[in-house]
């Protein structure tokens, strides 16, 4: 079941978004089958420079989609289009169509703030707020008014930390600052923070690049578990990681999406020469 059922209705979701949520609730049982998000002809310009040259990509519900490719190929840019984080960069311009549950997320009626409550994001470097562990998790639910009382908030915090596999490590020190945790714990805290808002999609931008192998293993395990409830899109430089955690993989190169398919196919039987070259380590 989706995360929405136990956190109540987000009070800030209004208009078409609320309709979207209801539609989602109605089709919840079938959701595993369809595409959660859909990008068609997405082009991004930073000023005069074109960063993406028309991307078509389907993101299936409750699966992990990995975006791989050499540095500067546009995979992070594409990821940031999916929750309109590029809006915060003044010179960025996005063309094309991206839908979430069939609805255009760049539509005038869509408030990017509400969109981001549905499409959460985890960043490359762990970025816990300089607050207590508890307040880090409670931040999102508070601004969206997801909890009506103290007890409910405690429950959301506990549940989010449990989902992120961090609960046992921090349950006795929820009042301590989140910045005091280790790097791997911080990143899991950030994932828990994203989960706490009950998003439908979680975007992860190289979530393990600042972590050591053990912390990476923890996070990868976590991604695999989260797949049950959330649609996940992950950008990674690490091909083994893409192979381990994802069901679908898209290979980006120089602003183009070269190839997309089931992860197994991409890694064992790439159709494009460039994909093969990158996967076998000839460049990138």
């Amino acid at each position: 079941m989706t995360a929405h059922t136990h956190t109540g209705t987000p009070t800030r979701s209004t208009g078409s978004l609320a309709a979207g949520i209801e539609a989602r609730a109605a089709t919840g049982a079938l959701a595993g089958a369809g595409n959660k998000m859909d990008a068609k002809g997405v082009k991004v310009f930073y000023g005069a420079k074109q960063a993406l040259k028309g991307i078509d990509l389907e993101i299936p519900d409750r699966q992990v989609t990995a975006l791989i490719g050499p540095s500067g190929c546009g995979k992070s840019t594409f990821l940031r289009c999916l929750n309109r984080m590029n809006d915060t960069i003044g010179i960025a311009r996005v063309e094309g169509l991206i839908t979430l549950d069939g609805q255009d997320i760049y539509d005038r009626e869509i408030d990017p703030v509400q969109l981001r409550a549905r499409v959460g994001m985890v960043f490359q470097k762990p970025n816990p707020f300089p607050k207590s562990i508890y307040d880090n998790i409670a931040y999102g639910p508070r601004i969206h008014g997801l909890a009506s009382g103290r007890d409910e908030m405690d429950e959301i915090v506990a549940k989010s930390l449990q989902r992120a596999g961090l609960w046992n490590e921090v349950k006795d020190r929820l009042k301590e600052p989140g910045t005091g945790l280790s790097g791997g714990q911080q990143q899991r805290l950030c994932i828990a923070r994203a989960v706490a808002v009950s998003p439908e999609v979680i975007l992860m931008d190289e979530p393990c690049s600042a972590l050591d192998p053990i912390a990476t293993a923890h996070v990868e395990e976590l991604i695999d578990e989260l797949r049950e409830n959330y649609t996940i899109v992950i950008v990674t430089h690490n091909m083994q990681q893409a192979a381990r955690v994802s069901q679908r993989t898209a290979f980006f190169h120089l602003g183009d999406m070269v190839e997309v398919g089931d992860t197994e196919d991409i890694f064992t039987n790439p159709r494009d020469e460039r994909t093969q070259g990158y996967i076998t380590g000839r460049y990138g």
């Binding site: 929750n83 984080m85 915060t88 003044g90 703030v113 509400q114 969109l115 981001r116 409550a117 549905r118 959460g120 994001m121 985890v122 960043f123 470097k125 970025n127 816990p128 707020f129 300089p130 607050k131 931040y139 999102g140 601004i143 969206h144 910045t179 950030c190 923070r193 994203a194 808002v197 975007l203």
Partner: protein
């Protein structure tokens, strides 16, 4: 010979030494520059230092001693009738000798003995100059010879030059530190003299400030009351008003500039705000005294309030305006130092811009902002010119911003421009006040810097 000529010659010699050292190093390497321990330029600097520094030190020592030696010699040559006079009178005679020697107006009819002494003085000075020139040239020449001989590929010229540069840098910072120590000590000693005349407790807790004391014994004047509490409250009142103006305005404009303003607006607004910081405080003083104070009085009167024409409110508001750029540019820097990743994290959770600013950016920047505000407070307390011109001299013990009050700095300024003798309690009280002011602002600055540093550690 004038000082500038000496120094110019010395500079020219050092430059020649530099060229010579460099070319000699190149020659000694025999075409293989990599065989040199140090780059040829360092050999050049090495020679230039040996040419310049000994001669310069000699020049400084000579400059310090020559005057007193020549004076002693001239004094010894004066006729017996003059040397029998009291030391003060001999000093006067020596002043006249100087004046005669340099063709200035002298205070008495020149008698032959004095003229002879002046001639003697001139003669000694010219001998001294000549000797100095010869000695300096000799020192420079010896230095050149010594350094030139030592140039060879293995010479560690760079290390030696760097050692000298380090010593030079240490000397520079020592000058700054020693000056500060000197200022504190002079303040302290004068303040101790004051506290010998007025008990510290009376000074710190007395409620009456009227420092007028009699200049002559027969003059009718008050005995002086040195209770500084009215000044402290006046300072506090004006600083509070100033901060009440500066903190909200400065902080809000900093938030606007760093979080909301598009780059072009930021590019124009920020420099304009910083122009405010460049206006001389005297000009703010005009504005306070001639525009703000009458305005406050007129508004007050139209509301039926009695407002003195030099009100704490006028001075405080203008001082607040003066401090705005201080608060805003410090806060702006600190807000900008909050990592973008925190903002992204917050936006990524669906927070709006204002939620992000209120709940993530400001709490993260708060320690730094508090530090900046404390620095601004210590500026407000130490500010003089605006309050001299707009707040007045009446040391009223009042918390009403519409009254005239006086501040510590205003009293220091007026106490020291008077015609009192320097060891009267009135004049010395300025040092007592200065010591209090210094202590308070020092504490504020230390706290502020600590807070700011603690904050910096969090993100670096």
């Amino acid at each position: 010979m004038p000082v500038t000529l000496f120094l110019a010659v010395l500079a020219a010699l050092s430059f020649a030494g530099f060229q010579l050292g460099r070319s000699r190093a190149v020659a000694s390497a025999g075409g293989r520059l990599s065989s040199l321990h140090s780059v040829p330029t360092y050999h050049g600097f090495y020679v230039a230092m040996w040419v310049g520094l000994p001669a310069l030190i000699l020049f400084a020592v000579w400059g310090g001693l020559e005057g007193s030696i020549v004076n002693a010699m001239v004094r010894a040559s004066l006729p017996a009738s003059m040397t029998a006079l009291s030391p003060q009178e001999i000093n006067l005679i020596m002043v006249d000798v100087h004046n005669l020697a340099y063709g200035n107006i002298s205070s008495r009819v020149a008698d032959p003995a004095l003229l002879a002494a002046a001639e003697h003085y001139k003669h000694l000075r010219s001998i001294g100059d000549g000797a100095l020139a010869v000695l300096m040239l000799a020192a420079a020449g010896m230095g050149l010879q010594y350094a030139r001989q030592r140039i060879q590929p293995g010479l560690r010229a760079r290390n030696q030059v760097e050692k000298v540069v380090t010593v030079f840098l240490i000397l520079c910072s020592l000058v700054a530190i020693l000056t500060t120590v000197g200022i504190v000590l002079s303040l302290l000693f004068e303040a101790i003299r004051f506290f010998n005349k007025v008990p510290p407790l009376d000074f710190l807790f007395g409620l009456q400030w009227s420092p007028q004391t009699a200049i002559r014994a027969d003059q009718v004047a008050s005995d002086g009351a040195f209770g500084a509490v009215p000044l402290f409250t006046g300072t506090l009142l004006i600083a509070t008003i100033a901060m009440a103006v500066a903190v909200p305005l400065g902080l809000m404009s900093a938030i606007y500039m760093s979080e909301y303003a598009p780059p072009r607006v930021r590019g124009t607004v920020k420099p304009i705000l910083e122009i405010l910081a460049g206006i001389p405080t005297v000009v703010y003083g005009f504005f306070a005294a001639l525009t703000m104070a009458p305005f406050v009085r007129d508004v007050g009167q139209s509301l039926g309030l009695s407002v003195s024409s030099e009100s704490a409110l006028a001075a405080g508001v203008v001082m607040g305006v003066m401090i705005i750029p201080f608060v805003s540019s410090l806060s702006d820097d600190i807000i900008n130092a909050v990592p973008q990743s925190l903002r992204d994290g917050s936006y990524g959770l669906g927070a709006t811009r204002s939620e992000t600013i209120r709940q993530v950016v400001l709490p993260a920047a708060l320690p730094g902002i508090v530090g900046g505000i404390l620095l601004a407070v210590s500026r407000a307390i130490g500010e003089t010119m605006i309050v001299v011109m707009a707040a007045g001299l009446a040391a009223n013990l009042s918390g009403n911003p519409l009254d005239a009050v006086s501040t510590v700095t205003v009293q220091i300024a007026t106490l020291l421009v008077g015609d009192q003798e320097f060891d009267s309690a009135k004049t010395l009280s300025a040092f007592g006040l200065g010591l209090v002011l210094f202590t308070v602002t020092l504490c504020l600055n230390i706290i502020a810097l600590r807070v700011v540093r603690k904050y910096r550690e969090q993100y670096d």
